[in-house]
């Protein structure tokens, strides 16, 4: 092959979407472009993000200008709050409408809400391939309908593809429960797609191991491509502040999903203030979206608002271009995550890169624990409740006031190992060799 190989990247969320998985998508396409690949991205239209998930316009500037982005319109009726667009059936019999909608969504592909997107994705992928032959497709999920487009291009034109799981399809990563049986329609579709895939990527070893155990014949194609922090989006190393003689500035940055133990964090915060283990004048700033969607989730917003009297403030969504500034104004970072051995965090790598002490509010089984195992400035909770959080916050205060150069150097080395390009490099090298030989 003499010309640059052509990568087709299929992702529902891509800049300007602000959804968590976007940063992995952005880093992946930029890394391939930097390695000399011609990259075309198939993704949803900008209005989708503005309407449903929220948008961060600053992210679009981070896309390598050599990358072509093809936007495929996406409709999401179940999330529509515009009453003017509601049908009579939806207004008169909402449960019936939702049931019919859910069934109709899955006619072409077994995934509610996203299934109807597959025909448009297929057409767009075929058009890209007809215009300039594609050498490799990478599809990232969820939603898993992106895998359907990659598999379709493979069946029609023999284009090899990579399935990039940021989550799992048949496994609930929070509970560890198998949500769909292998014999189910989704299970059978997934099995076919894994069988034909050149590689299958997972974000952590526990999820990879689960899939390898369920599909041992194809375990050799399964790899861990962990998330990482993005050197292009974060100043490194970040100067460490000296908090002596003042309150400590704690901060949380990330999407506050209903799985995040926000109530426990706030209860623990109040307890630590009352006990005096966190000094008076200390603050806790929460940045990021409240809930998965562009409109803040009411219960989460109420929790944050109700703690305003205790020095808790909500900074709102923080554009990716401003996260460095957000971290620079924090002494200690609070990493609050849902429970589950398969749960991983994209944010933890960024936290490590800041060099700030981390108060880790998650159970020890969480996959993030292994990421932080070599970090010398971590205060982990012994239990995810008010007392556990308060004790960890107190330890966070102590860490913020310590300044051991050896510890700082260990954090720096850990951060370098967790940069996003470091995680992607081996797979890009292997795939480049396989498509160009």
């Amino acid at each position: 092959m003499t010309s640059a190989p052509h990568l087709l990247y299929v992702a529902w969320g891509f800049p300007p979407s602000r959804a968590g998985g976007v940063y992995r998508a952005l880093a992946t396409v930029n890394a391939f472009a930097a390695q000399g690949w011609r990259v075309t991205v198939l993704t949803a239209d900008r209005e989708t993000y503005a309407r449903y998930t929220g948008a961060d316009p600053s992210l679009e500037a981070q896309v390598d200008p050599r990358i072509e982005v093809v936007r495929v319109p996406f409709d999401w009726p179940a999330q529509d709050t515009d009453v003017r667009r509601y049908s009579f059936l939806r207004v008169a019999l909402p449960p019936v409408w939702h049931r019919i909608r859910r069934l109709a969504d899955q006619i072409g592909f077994p995934e509610p809400s996203y299934g109807p997107w597959l025909p448009a994705l297929r057409r767009a992928a075929a058009a890209v391939h007809a215009r300039r032959p594609v050498d490799l497709t990478i599809a990232t999920a969820n939603p898993h309908v992106t895998f359907g487009a990659a598999h379709d291009l493979f069946r029609r034109s023999g284009v090899p593809y990579v399935m990039d799981y940021r989550d799992a399809w048949r496994l609930d990563v929070f509970t560890g429960v198998e949500t769909r049986r292998r014999q189910s329609r989704a299970g059978r579709v997934e099995a076919r797609m894994i069988r034909d895939a050149r590689e299958v990527w997972f974000v952590n070893e526990p999820i990879r191991a689960w899939h390898a155990a369920h599909d041992p014949e194809h375990a050799a194609a399964m790899h861990v491509v962990a998330n990482g922090w993005d050197p292009t989006l974060l100043e490194f190393p970040l100067e460490r502040p000296d908090p002596d003689g003042r309150g400590i500035r704690f901060a949380y940055l990330g999407t506050v999903t209903p799985k995040v133990p926000l109530a426990e964090v706030l209860d623990g915060w109040r307890l630590a203030l009352a006990e005096g283990t966190v000094p008076a004048g200390s603050t806790l700033t929460i940045g990021g979206h409240l809930g998965y969607f562009s409109v803040p989730q009411g219960r989460l917003a109420d929790l944050v608002t109700g703690a305003a009297d205790a020095g808790v403030s909500y900074a709102g969504p923080v554009p990716k271009a401003s996260v460095g500034e957000f971290y620079a104004n924090a002494d200690v970072l609070v990493l609050a995550l849902g429970s589950g051995r398969y749960v991983t965090s994209g944010k933890v790598y960024e936290y490590v890169a800041t060099g700030r002490p981390i108060v880790a509010v998650h159970d020890a089984e969480n996959a993030t624990t292994s990421v932080l195992s070599g970090h010398p400035l971590v205060a982990s909770v012994t239990s995810v409740d008010a007392a556990g959080v308060a004790a960890a916050l107190a330890e966070g205060v102590r860490l913020a006031r310590s300044s051991d150069p050896d510890e700082q150097e260990r954090v720096r080395e850990l951060a370098l190992a967790y940069s996003r390009d470091h995680q992607l490099a081996p797979r890009i090298a292997a795939l480049t060799e396989s498509v160009t030989r």
Binding site: T81, V83, R84, Y86, V91, P94, V295
Partner: protein, 123 residues
């Protein structure tokens, strides 16, 4: 200030909820007027047989929407923002779609807050 009509029609919606939702919109710069149709909807007694409860549950939002008087309807027709504050209120808001062709008709407080933010951005 965006004139905002906040509609409630479910008899189970409490006064506390009504004032909390109205307060949230006021805090976001809305001039809120509550349209209270809760008494116009029949209550669905839990001890009644399932078919009766089902019919009541389906008809209650429409019966509540008939509680809109002519004067209120005329004001809703020119409102820039009408919000369904509870599930039963969706039918009342939806029935205004032809009379009010310019305003935002939205379902839920979060969507109303987003609409208010969008309007503030346009100003």
């Amino acid at each position: 200030m965006t004139t905002t009509f906040l509609v409630f029609a479910d008899p189970r919606t409490t006064d506390d909820v009504v004032s909390a939702h109205a307060g949230a919109l006021q805090a976001s710069g809305a001039d809120v007027e509550v349209v209270d149709l809760r008494s116009a909807a029949p209550k669905v007694a839990p001890h009644r047989p399932l078919p009766v409860r089902a019919v009541r549950a389906v008809s209650a939002p429409w019966l509540a929407s008939r509680g809109l008087d002519t004067a209120t309807r005329a004001r809703l027709a020119s409102a820039p923002l009408i919000v369904a504050g509870d599930r039963f209120a969706i039918a009342s808001v939806w029935r205004m779609r032809r009379a009010n062709r310019a305003g935002d008709l939205v379902n839920g407080i979060p969507a109303a807050l987003a609409a208010l933010r969008a309007r503030a951005g346009e100003d």
